[in-house]
């Protein structure tokens, strides 16, 4: 039961409520950091760590923090986590710290983190909140990295910093290109997830209509449906 619950929480964070492609949150970091795959991946992991820590702490303190001051309290906690992350990155991974630049402190105001704190961590137990934080973070990381790979490949002809081809389209390295890729990715993601959801529901429906023990009927052809 718990495994199923945690699995659903994780699935929601990764796919159903994907922060980047579904909820369209954290766009600032998405567009600013996704010029290269490595930077995107680093940003995504940083947000994941902050999400995990802030969700855990907020969940731990959810019964202590009064409702009237929950937002300022959440922001203080998130800001503290981001500051700790900055110190750790600057000390141990200076290259990533340098490449993230101003976007690292901007994680504080990333809507994903405050959004999950408000929507989930402040209302759920610690473990649930932790899993939600990790899953949401990984979903964001996946989305950011995907956009980063596309922009870097088309814009600089490289893949994770490795030069692959000389052909480059400068459009993909600037802001307009970032929006373009972002929009295309959202469209494709929604299309794929919707199709998958549709197929899942159709399968569920067929399962419900058949007597138990029998195989469900095969899915009809599209022509038959028409």
């Amino acid at each position: 039961m718990n495994a199923k619950k945690y699995g659903k929480i994780a699935y929601d964070g990764l796919i159903t409520n994907n922060a980047t492609f579904k909820l369209v949150l954290g766009t600032c970091a998405t567009l600013g950091m996704s010029t290269s795959a490595v930077n995107s991946f680093g940003m995504g992991l940083s947000v994941t760590v902050v999400l995990l820590l802030s969700n855990v702490l907020i969940s731990l303190l959810r019964k202590v923090i009064p409702n009237t001051v929950r937002i300022p309290a959440f922001i203080v906690i998130i800001a503290t986590m981001v500051t700790l992350l900055r110190m750790v990155l600057e000390k141990y991974i200076p290259d990533l710290y340098d490449s993230m630049g101003v976007f690292l402190p901007l994680i504080v105001v990333n809507c994903v983190i405050l959004g999950r704190a408000e929507a989930f961590a402040s209302k759920n137990p610690v473990l649930d909140s932790a899993i939600d934080g990790v899953a949401t973070g990984l979903g964001l990381t996946f989305a950011l990295t995907l956009i980063g790979i596309i922009r870097e490949f088309l814009g600089n002809g490289s893949f994770f910093g490795i030069h692959v081809m000389d052909f480059k389209i400068g459009f993909f390295t600037n802001s307009a290109g970032a929006f373009f890729v972002y929009g295309i990715c959202i469209a494709l993601f929604v299309l794929i997830t919707n199709q998958a959801e549709k197929a899942r529901r159709a399968k569920q429906a067929r399962m419900l209509r058949m007597p138990s023990g029998q195989e469900p009927l095969p899915a009809p052809d599209a022509e038959e449906v028409k």
């Binding site: 930077n39 923090i65 009237t68 906690i77 800001a79 110190m87 200076p94 600037n174």
Partner: protein
């Protein structure tokens, strides 16, 4: 609500929880900040590791605040890397997007050292990005962009700067599409490092390259000779003055200035020729001859300013001469307004560049009030009551005191032909003293020696225990200036109460204070006579005729020390050498005058026979120099046989034929011996028979009589020609022109020949080329011996009638150029060519 109710209320709970969270978070951050703290040293080591890939040792170099500001940006830190001698700069370049900046680390590769004065830039090893402000497209600047700066060492070594112009075509243009301004800021940061290195560290600092012939032709219509003028107070309210040149025969100063106030905080650099009439205090600014555009920072519409815009500056001489400054008002108001429509900010920077030249001319060259609060006069200027240029001289510690008192400071004021001395005379009331400023009128120069002609003025400074000093009127001090003949003849002042003595100066009733005052003046006279008169005459104690010899820098440095001056005193058959020996206490030095007795002549070569006399001059860091008695220096003159045989002195505690050691002062003795050895070594290497010296052995040679009318040719001049039959060679001493700053290089070239003098000689090639001397070639020591060997490798082409070239691009079969030293190489090739040309045109009558 009661207090109890308040503490139970929701509001208090909310506040308390919030404060608690903040305090805990603060404490957590404070703890982690301490744990994860990165010190400045660690940051520097990270940067060094990022740049060098390994731990290296860096020593921070301190810069003046003025030196940190460059036309391209600011210099934040400079480190000297001990392992490779290069310099690491952290600089912030201006001109970025939205007025922002980019900070980078630049490794400037150099050869030589600052201490030796032979530091030279060879290129850029690495550029590493550090941070930026307001730049949003830094990610577009890839590794290849930064690598570009390291790929043009030859142009960097030649003194060029990088550019970042969109669509630019010059070799040092580095720009990334869509990130022009960020590229420009990075380029400016790199240029700031180069600028700082060139102006602060490189030995040619303060000696800029003159403007090209094309610029001079554009301004004056012809090439003109220029003299560099040292820039003082380079900052003006309008911009900076980078270079000042005085033209010859054009009554004009040529300024290279950078005017501020351009688009996005950028600047414009122009050449401005300012005309004047009169000289000295009569000089007046008359107008502007011409203004020529040179470069800009961040002025993206500079190409919209036509040439006629710059011509406008030369049309307002009346107003310029009357003291006006140019403006760039878009509405056109103002008599001296000069603005290009639509480009008002670049026009403003251009006007400011011209104004900077005018302002510098007026305030520095003419000494007019700049409108700012003038700096107070320093003591020397107070003495003269006006601003003067002067040089403070270093007083050797053994000469600070003499029988009359002590010398506290010595200044040479060239423009007044005076030496100003602050000295304290003893023998005052109750053992006290009087300190006076005394100006001694002189002729001659510091380098050649000064001759005392009298006393200019004496001014009271202070006294110790002279309670009646106020009874001495000004006329007492004026008396010192009335006895120039006696002073010039070597006399000293007295303060006899009975008035006896030609140079007596005493104030009745104040004889002791008068005595101390006279002694103060005498202390100044005594110091001058011991230290500042003609050095050769001071050495011999009489007037002698002598010739000062000039040898190139590479000839005057040897393993024992350096030779500072060489004089040939023919009437004494001596060579007098001032040399500094190394190896003293705390790596200090001792400088001595050594007279070497010699037979022969300068032209035919001298033969060393011994040492005449050795006299102490000065020292660095030898705190026990005063323990060395005069007899120590006399010892050098007692070993003529061994000196003539080629031996050198030592300062060993127990051994050595030419050992000369003062017990307890062994290191200072060592440095003293090295000073004598440096003189001996220089003599042996450069003043003996030139032909024997060239071949390293005694050879029979015949010096040919030169055809005086044919000594000069298009490559240079021939100084001497020797025929060495046993070697089948002609040895030619020739000087080639076309060096750096129109200097020359003199070489010995042996031409291999067949035939005989009587039957005629045929050139078959070049045997060897040896450096002799140079003028103005400050990078001559960068030319290795292998460069001269190259001349001997092209016998076929030489025999076929070819001449050597020094093309930087390497073209030409007989090309011989040392990278980065092209001008000196050119003069060297011309020296060899002059020898070849003389042989072909004169010795063989054009039939070679």
């Amino acid at each position: 609500m009661t207090v109890k109710q308040f503490f139970k209320s929701n509001a208090f709970r909310s506040l308390a929880v919030l404060i608690a969270i903040v305090l805990v978070a603060g404490a957590l951050l404070a703890i982690f900040n301490d744990i994860l703290y990165i010190s400045d040293e660690e940051r520097l080591n990270r940067t060094l590791s990022k740049i060098y890939g390994e731990n290296v040792t860096a020593e921070e170099v301190t810069l003046d605040e003025d030196a940190k500001t460059t036309p391209y940006g600011t210099v934040n830190f400079v480190y000297h890397i001990q392992e490779d001698g290069n310099y690491l700069f952290q600089t912030t370049g201006t001109g970025g997007y939205q007025g922002g900046t980019v900070t980078v680390w630049t490794v400037v590769a150099v050869t030589g050292t600052r201490e030796a004065g032979d530091l030279a830039i060879t290129g850029i090893d690495k550029v590493v990005y550090e941070s930026n402000t307001s730049q949003t497209l830094m990610a577009n600047l890839t590794d290849s962009f930064y690598a570009f700066y390291t790929e043009h060492d030859d142009l960097v070594a030649d003194g060029e700067y990088f550019t970042s112009v969109k669509g630019g075509t010059d070799d040092l243009n580095n720009v990334v599409a869509n990130a022009t301004m960020s590229s420009g800021a990075v380029t400016n940061a790199v240029n700031a490092a180069l600028y700082c290195c060139r102006t602060q560290f490189v030995s040619q600092s303060g000696q800029p390259e003159p403007p090209s012939d094309e610029v001079l032709e554009e301004i004056f219509g012809e090439r003109v000779a220029l003299t560099s003028v040292a820039v003082t107070d380079a900052q003006t309210p309008y911009g900076t003055v980078d270079e000042v040149w005085l033209t010859s025969g054009k009554s004009a100063y040529l300024f290279k200035t950078t005017g501020t106030g351009g688009f996005q905080g950028g600047s414009v650099t122009l050449w401005t020729a300012v005309t004047f009439e009169g000289t000295g205090s009569e000089m007046k600014l008359t107008g502007i001859e011409k203004v020529v555009y040179l470069s800009n920072i961040s002025q993206s519409w500079m190409n919209k300013i036509p040439d006629s815009y710059y011509d406008n500056f030369a049309d307002k001489d009346d107003l310029v001469a009357a003291g006006g400054y140019f403006t760039a008002n878009p509405d056109g108001s103002g008599d001296l307004n000069n603005v290009q429509t639509g480009v008002s900010l670049a026009s403003n920077a251009s006007c400011n560049a011209v104004n900077a030249a005018l302002c510098y001319f007026r305030t520095v060259l003419l000494g007019e009030e700049s409108g700012e609060e003038p700096a107070p006069l320093d003591p020397v200027e107070e003495f003269y009551g006006e601003r003067v240029n002067y040089t403070q001289l270093t007083i050797d510690e053994l000469y600070t005191s003499n029988e009359y008192g002590a010398v506290d400071a010595v200044y040479y004021v060239a423009e007044k032909n005076e030496v100003l001395i602050l000295s304290t005379g003893t023998g005052g009331f109750q053992g006290g003293t009087v300190t006076l400023w005394t100006s001694l009128t002189v002729t001659g120069s510091l380098e050649d020696g000064l001759t005392l002609t009298g006393i200019g003025k004496v001014v009271y400074d202070s006294d110790v225990d002279q309670s009646w000093m106020n009874k001495i009127p000004d006329s007492f001090f004026a008396n010192f200036a009335d006895k120039d003949d006696l002073v010039a003849a070597g006399g000293y002042f007295t303060a006899n109460p009975d008035g006896s003595g030609d140079l007596n100066n005493v104030e009745t009733g104040v004889s002791k204070a008068s005595n101390a005052a006279c002694n103060a003046v005498n202390a100044a006279l005594c110091y001058f006579r011991l230290r500042l008169t003609d050095p050769v005459e001071r050495f011999y104690g009489e007037e002698v005729d002598y010739t000062q010899l000039t040898l190139g820098a590479s000839c005057t440095t040897n393993e024992y020390g350096t030779v500072d001056a060489i004089y040939y005193v023919a009437e004494k058959n001596e060579v007098l050498i001032l040399a500094t020996g190394t190896g003293g206490f705390r790596n200090g030095t001792v400088t001595l005058w050594t007279s070497l007795t010699a037979t022969g002549s300068l032209e035919g070569g001298l033969t060393l026979t011994g040492i005449g006399k050795v006299v102490y001059d000065s020292n660095i860091d030898q705190s026990w120099m005063n323990k060395i008695p005069d007899s120590f220096y006399d010892n050098f003159a007692d070993k003529d046989d061994l000196v003539a045989a080629g031996e050198y002195f030592t300062a060993n505690p127990d051994t050595g034929n030419l050992n000369n050691l003062e017990t307890g002062v062994s290191l200072a003795s060592n440095a003293a011996c090295n000073a004598v050895n440096a003189a001996l070594c220089c003599f042996r290497m450069w003043l003996t028979d030139p032909v024997d010296r060239f071949y390293g052995e005694q050879v029979d040679s015949t010096q040919l009589t030169l055809d005086a009318a044919a000594l000069g040719n298009e490559y240079g001049t021939v100084e001497a020609v020797y025929y060495i039959a046993e070697k089948n060679e002609l040895l030619v001493l020739s000087t080639g022109t076309g060096g750096f700053r129109n200097g020359t290089v003199t070489l010995w070239t042996s031409l291999t020949v067949t035939g005989s003098l009587e039957d005629g000689l045929t050139l078959t090639g070049i045997g060897k080329v040896v450096f002799a001397s140079e003028t103005s070639q400050s990078w001559m020591d960068k030319i290795p011996d292998s460069y001269y060997d190259n001349f001997a490798d092209k016998d076929d082409l030489v025999a076929a009638g070819g001449y050597f070239t020094a093309n930087p691009d390497g073209t030409g079969d007989l090309n011989n150029v040392q990278t980065g030293v092209s001008k000196a190489s050119n003069a060297a090739c011309n020296a060899v060519n002059a020898a070849l040309c003389y042989f072909r045109e004169v010795l063989t009558g054009g039939n070679a």
